[in-house]
């Protein structure tokens, strides 16, 4: 049997001289996609999951003290210690303290029209949790909430209805139950929905005045990604009950949307993997067809090598090694491009990735490319090795 060093030296030379780069590129493409998806996929899912809030707040969990639904029960509130514990749970991005329900005030608009504006109590995290932005002025600061400042935010539509525009609303004073609150900002956002017509007060100010409730009875918990939601839904009630009495704590999530998004992700991911598989199969088929073409084009060479004393195994090994060289060259190229894309992608998207995972995936890719090469080249190489010497020598 021909020595391995000679086998691969001769095969590599043949591959370089054949210039069959299409097959190499096809495998490289598949391996690149595999590396990027395998290494960055998890981080990207997290990143996209974070942005999914724009598509329905699927990673926001609504935690409510539901005592008021049970007559005779005292209305309980979330203790600060409980909230701090929840904030430290893995998978929790942030928590907003709110009170369940709101209070309506009749306000006079620019055209002397009376409008009933509903006010709800929020803290400084509310805007971040629901991805709201200030179109004019500013959002609530921790100081506003802590000092129970008499400031308020208006939804964009409320500002337009009352004052004709967002900028016009800034600095205006609202008389709410004989108290004066200054409009410091006008907010909007995809998640705001019908609350664009509402007003917002610091939750502490509302609790003090018993507007809506005098207790923190609702928490909005934003999960880092939608994948964390299911786990948090399971542990939050237990964590709350460990810290305080909360027999009627209730959680609601955007379950339907979450299911649909998961379903959509599954399809997108399946399509991606299908694409990768197709690219790799294309490479394998390319190797198969390329090796067949090589066997046909070099039939006389096969005959001559056999006449020189080359055994069937030598011929088989040679064509197989050529297929292997093409596949592994494609794999190495794919790893290099994949590595570059992973580095670039992680820098552009601000993602972290594991070098250990990258190494494992790269090694796996090399093995996988080799398998493709062997699988694609085996049949034509076997055919070549079984050629009759004289028939091969006389082949035109």
């Amino acid at each position: 049997m021909i020595a391995m060093s000679d086998l691969f030296r001769v095969s590599l030379r043949q591959v370089v001289r054949q210039r069959n780069y299409g097959v190499v590129l096809s495998i490289a493409l598949g391996i690149t996609a595999f590396i990027v998806l395998a290494v960055l996929g998890r981080e990207m899912r997290y990143k996209i999951g974070q942005d999914m809030v724009l598509m329905g707040g699927v990673n926001v969990i609504n935690v409510i003290m539901d005592d008021s639904q049970y007559p005779g029960q005292p209305v309980r509130e979330f203790y600060p210690d409980t909230i701090r514990t929840l904030e430290e749970l893995p998978g929790v991005s942030m928590i907003s303290r709110n009170i369940r329900g709101g209070i309506g005030f009749l306000l006079r608009s620019a055209g002397e029209r009376s409008l009933n504006i509903n006010f709800i109590g929020i803290d400084q995290n509310y805007a971040k949790i629901f991805s709201l932005e200030a179109v004019a002025g500013r959002l609530f600061t921790p100081e506003d909430v802590e000092r129970r400042s008499r400031v308020c935010l208006l939804g964009l539509e409320a500002a337009r209805n009352l004052y004709g525009g967002a900028r016009e609303a800034l600095g205006k004073l609202l008389f709410l139950d004989r108290e004066i609150f200054e409009v410091v900002g006008v907010i909007t956002g995809v998640m705001l929905g019908s609350q664009r017509q509402d007003g917002f007060l610091p939750v502490s100010a509302m609790v003090d005045r018993n507007w809506g409730s005098d207790k923190i009875t609702r928490l909005y918990v934003r999960a880092v990604a939608w994948e964390d939601v299911a786990g948090l839904v399971k542990i939050i009630p237990a964590v709350v009950r460990e810290r305080q009495s909360a027999p009627y704590v209730r959680l609601t999530t955007q379950e339907d949307q979450l299911t649909r998004i998961k379903f959509m992700f599954m399809w997108v991911e399946s399509l991606l993997w299908l694409g990768i598989t197709a690219a790799l199969l294309l490479g394998g088929f390319g190797i198969w067809a390329g090796t067949f073409a090589a066997v046909r084009a070099r039939t006389r060479e096969v005959g001559l090598k056999k006449a020189m004393g080359g055994s069937d195994t030598d011929i088989l090994a040679q064509f197989l090694a050529e297929a292997l060289c093409k596949a592994v060259a494609g794999g190495l190229l794919g790893i290099m491009i994949g590595l570059a894309l992973v580095e670039t992608g992680s820098w552009l998207l601000d993602l972290d990735f594991s070098y250990g995972l990258l190494l494992v995936d790269s090694l796996g890719s090399i093995v996988f490319s080799a398998v493709i090469g062997v699988a694609g080249g085996l049949y034509p190489a076997t055919q070549a090795s079984r050629l009759d010497v004289v028939t091969a020598l006389r082949f035109e």
Binding site: D6, R300, M308, G309, G310, D314
Partner: protein
């Protein structure tokens, strides 16, 4: 001198056709140059393929270098051929896109010769055909005669005892053909290689010690008394 090849009553018939060889007998000795002649389709190439162990005879005995080769299996046949035989074909059959060195080196790779020994042996083989200066040239850039000389060097690089040539000058002009035949004679008489050559050209057969003619599947022998080449008259 003991014969290197002894063929006795060799019979070969391809399925559905008349027998090609009907009881062929042949003996070839060390340093003998033999021509096998005959009209197209008479079975001379079949004869060469059987002597070169590329085809097995249907019946008869074939002894090469004292070994009854018809008893060897596929693997041992290849190994026997690798060590003892060289082939030169009608069309040059060099490996495309390879250099002269890579072409001549190949039998050494199969023979498991260490890489550090290969260069010297390739150069020695190319010296025989006076092409060592072209060792790095691409084979497809050589002339027809040069390509055939490379094929001869490749056949000789393993120092085989037997060289089989199938119409080696069939695609060459008269002048180059004469040149090649002189090379063969040198190899025969200087290196003691037994050369069996199939040709339909009587001019080329004139260079051989023995001429066999295949007629209706039977081999007729005509020994000639050619003066061996001495060292001083070598190419």
């Amino acid at each position: 001198m003991s014969p290197v090849i002894i063929a006795k009553d060799v019979y070969k018939c391809y399925a559905g056709l008349d027998p090609v060889l009907r009881g062929v007998n042949m003996e070839a000795e060390t340093g003998e140059m033999i021509a096998v002649m005959g009209p197209s389709g008479c079975g001379k190439s079949t004869m060469l393929h059987i002597l070169g162990m590329l085809h097995a005879p249907d019946s008869g005995r074939l002894q090469i270098l004292g070994t009854e080769v018809s008893t060897l299996d596929h693997k041992h046949t290849a190994a026997f051929r690798r060590v003892n035989m060289g082939f030169v074909m009608q069309s040059f059959n060099l490996f495309d896109h390879s250099t002269v060195f890579e072409n001549v080196e190949f039998p050494l790779i199969y023979a498991g010769i260490p890489p550090q020994e290969r260069w010297d042996r390739v150069i020695r083989a190319l010296d025989l055909v006076r092409l060592s200066a072209c060792v790095h040239s691409r084979s497809n850039r050589l002339s027809g005669g040069e390509q055939q000389r490379v094929a001869i060097a490749r056949a000789m690089v393993n120092n085989p005892r037997i060289l089989l040539a199938d119409e080696p000058t069939g695609a060459l002009d008269a002048r180059t053909s004469r040149h090649i035949m002189k090379h063969f004679r040198t190899l025969c008489h200087m290196a003691g290689v037994c050369i069996i050559m199939v040709t339909h050209d009587p001019t080329m057969a004139e260079y051989c010690d023995t001429v066999y003619t295949v007629e209706e599947g039977v081999l007729y022998c005509r020994k000639r008394d050619l003066k061996p080449i001495s060292a001083g008259t070598a190419l």
